[in-house]
Structures are given as structure tokens and as C-alpha cells.
């Protein structure tokens, strides 16, 4: 299965809540609806909070994978 094209990337390792979400949100604002953002998050608190907040804002999380103790998320920006 081929992976979708990524339009922007954000490495949020070491970034604390809620700044990791705020940065994700700001980055998503730069994108067009339907475009895909890759976000790398630490496990624990960040991964507990950021995906749920992204979901609450209506965006779609299309892929999640664990990479070297961190999580890699692909988020498709919602059409607003």
C-alpha cells in the first residue's frame, strides 16, 4: 500500500502541551483543505492530548505509527 503524499512536516519531539497542539494548529492553518501534515509526537502526555484535540477540531487522522518511541501522525486538514 503506497502512502499518501505529505505536504508539510512538523517535528514536535520535546515540545510540551499545549504548545505542541498550538503549533500543529498553526501549521494546519497554512495548509489547504485536504492537504496532509506529518507530525512527530512524544509518547505519554503529548500523544494523549494532541490527537484528541486534532479530532475535536474536525481534522482527519489518516495514519498513526510508532517510530523509535515517538508517534508519527498524518493529519488531513478538514474542509471548513
Amino acid at each position: 500500500m503506497s502512502e499518501v503524499a505529505v505536504d508539510a512536516k512538523l517535528d514536535l519531539k520535546g515540545e510540551v502541551c499545549p504548545y505542541n497542539f498550538v503549533k500543529t494548529k498553526l501549521k494546519l492553518e497554512e495548509l489547504e483543505a485536504g492537504q496532509v501534515l506529518e507530525v512527530i509526537l512524544d509518547e505519554g502526555e503529548p500523544v494523549r492530548n494532541v490527537p484528541r484535540s486534532v479530532k475535536e477540531e474536525g481534522h482527519e487522522i489518516i495514519k498513526v505509527e510508532k517510530v523509535n518511541g515517538a508517534f508519527r501522525l498524518l493529519i488531513r486538514k478538514a474542509a471548513i
Binding site: 500523544v47 494523549r48 490527537p51 484528541r52 479530532k55 475535536e56 487522522i61 489518516i62 498513526v64 508517534f71
Partner: protein
């Protein structure tokens, strides 16, 4: 001698200060909710009758110190103009505390609405052996500390797993606070007994493979702080609907009124008689 009965005043939330004829007035602030219209009135009353400040209590309440007993009726009247009233002291049900409930990203129940309902029905309930505190917290994060209340209510959620939606990404495994979920390859296992019903897996799942089945309340009893702290016991794991919750509170108060000894906190009554005796009596 002043013409007031300190015991009678305490009943309605006037607390005698060390200073002669001065009292701290405790307000009935349910769930910490104070409207923008009430705030300026509090400032005005504290300047006019007190010393220009209020005190926030540990149970989300407000007290206005340095009020002379001659001003009680005027203060009461001015508070009423903005829908505020006096709280409770002594051996009775105190103002109900609550978190912000559903508006919090972790909230599972409408804690504020439930607090208004419980407070409306039981605030001031009398004839008890000692004080009785009720706290309502929206989820197992327990910000309102239900196990520190004589009766604590906690929002919990029961869930369902829809296997065909799962991509085995492992997010739920990572967020589960008790390690109840494990994934091996394309197989997810879930330990129901270990689950604390917090719903973190539901909130985090990108595929909606974990879905909410029903929300309800877990009820703790017998908690208290003070000189002899004692955490509450879990009495009911899952109670669905407001009426059954209200019924349990009502029966609990009746049980405490009948079986508690004078001056005994509810946690001590339960320890003396046994949790099972209590649960059997109120369920």
C-alpha cells in the same frame, strides 16, 4: 450581650470570627459557578460591609469576612439581588462542588448540571450526625477529589470496540493509564476488569474503533480530610441516569441519619457497620 444565637447563625453560613460581633459570611456557590453579574456585587458588598476582599474556600466557595451582625439582613438582601444566597455550616449537607464537566476535553458527564440538581434537592439536608459533603467530578482524573467527600460522584464511560475500524496503530495502548489494552500484530486484547472507564482510548482513537456505549456515574462514600483523613470507598461502580444517582444520595442520607452516631463522620459510620451493610441498605 448581642442578640444572636451563634449556633443558629452557623446553621446558615455565618461564621463567628475572633473579632467581637464580626462574622465571615459563607455563600452557596454551587460547582464554583459565579456569573459576571455577581462579581461586581461581591466587590460592592465586601467594600460596603466587610474589608474590601473575599476569601475563596477549598470547596469552591466564597466567604466575605468582617461582616457585622447588624448588617446581616442588608447583606442577605443585596446578595439576593444577583441570585446569591448564604451557604451552610454544621451537621448538614453542604454546597455541592463540581468541575466544569462536559466542556473539559476529558469530561464524561454534565457535572455542573448534575451539581445544580443535587444541590437543589439536598443542600441543607438536616438532622445528620455531622457535616456531609458531596463532590461531582466529570471523569476519573478526579479533579474534584470525590474520594475526599462524604459522597463523591465520578463520571465514567463504558465503551465498545469495533474491530473492523482498527488499524492497530497503538495510540490507545499508549494512552491507557492502566495498561488494559495490548496489541500483538493484528490482534487487540482488552482487559475489562482493569479498565477504569476514563474514555481516553475513545478520545484518542483516530479511527473511532473505540466508541462510547454509555456514560454513567461511579459513587464513592465515606471520604473526608481534616484531622483524621480517610479516602472514600468505591460503593457503586456504574450508575446510569440522574434519577438513580439522586435515589442513592437520598437513601445514603437516610442511612446516615438513622445509623450514624452523633458527631460521627459518614466514613466512620461505614467503617463501623461495614461497606457491604451500607451498599445493601441503599441499593
Amino acid at each position: 450581650m448581642a442578640d444572636y444565637d451563634v449556633k443558629d447563625l452557623k446553621r446558615v453560613g455565618f461564621m463567628k470570627q475572633k473579632e467581637k460581633d464580626l462574622f465571615s459570611i459563607r455563600l452557596r456557590v454551587v460547582g464554583g459557578y459565579v456569573s459576571a453579574d455577581q462579581l461586581p456585587k461581591l466587590a460592592e458588598i465586601s467594600r460596603k460591609y466587610g474589608r474590601g476582599y473575599i476569601h475563596l474556600t477549598t470547596r469552591q466557595g466564597i466567604e466575605i469576612p468582617f461582616i457585622h451582625f447588624n448588617d446581616f439582613e442588608k447583606v442577605r438582601g443585596e446578595l439576593a439581588e444577583v441570585g446569591l444566597s448564604i451557604g451552610a455550616c454544621g451537621p448538614r449537607v453542604r454546597t455541592v462542588t463540581a468541575c466544569q464537566g462536559e466542556i473539559c476535553s476529558h469530561g464524561l458527564i454534565a457535572a455542573q448540571e448534575l451539581a445544580l440538581m443535587v444541590d437543589g434537592r439536598f443542600f441543607g439536608y438536616d438532622g445528620l450526625p455531622h457535616k456531609f459533603k458531596i463532590g461531582i467530578t466529570g471523569c476519573p482524573n478526579a479533579c474534584i477529589k470525590p474520594t475526599e467527600n462524604d459522597l463523591g460522584i465520578m463520571g465514567v464511560v463504558e465503551k465498545e470496540f469495533i474491530e473492523e475500524r482498527c488499524t492497530y496503530c497503538g495510540l490507545c495502548v499508549d494512552v491507557c493509564p492502566v495498561g488494559a489494552i495490548t496489541i500483538e500484530g493484528d490482534k487487540l486484547s482488552y482487559d475489562h476488569d482493569r479498565c477504569v472507564k476514563c474514555g481516553d482510548c475513545i478520545f484518542v482513537c483516530p479511527m473511532d474503533a473505540w466508541v462510547k456505549k454509555r456514560a454513567g456515574c461511579r459513587i464513592y462514600v465515606g471520604g473526608k480530610m481534616g484531622k483524621f483523613p480517610h479516602l472514600g470507598h468505591e460503593a457503586f461502580d456504574f450508575v446510569e441516569g440522574e434519577d438513580p444517582v439522586l435515589r442513592i444520595i437520598e437513601r445514603t442520607l437516610e442511612f446516615y441519619r438513622e445509623r450514624g452516631e452523633k458527631g460521627e463522620r459518614f466514613g466512620d459510620t461505614i467503617d463501623r457497620l461495614g461497606l457491604d451493610v451500607y451498599v445493601e441498605a441503599v441499593k
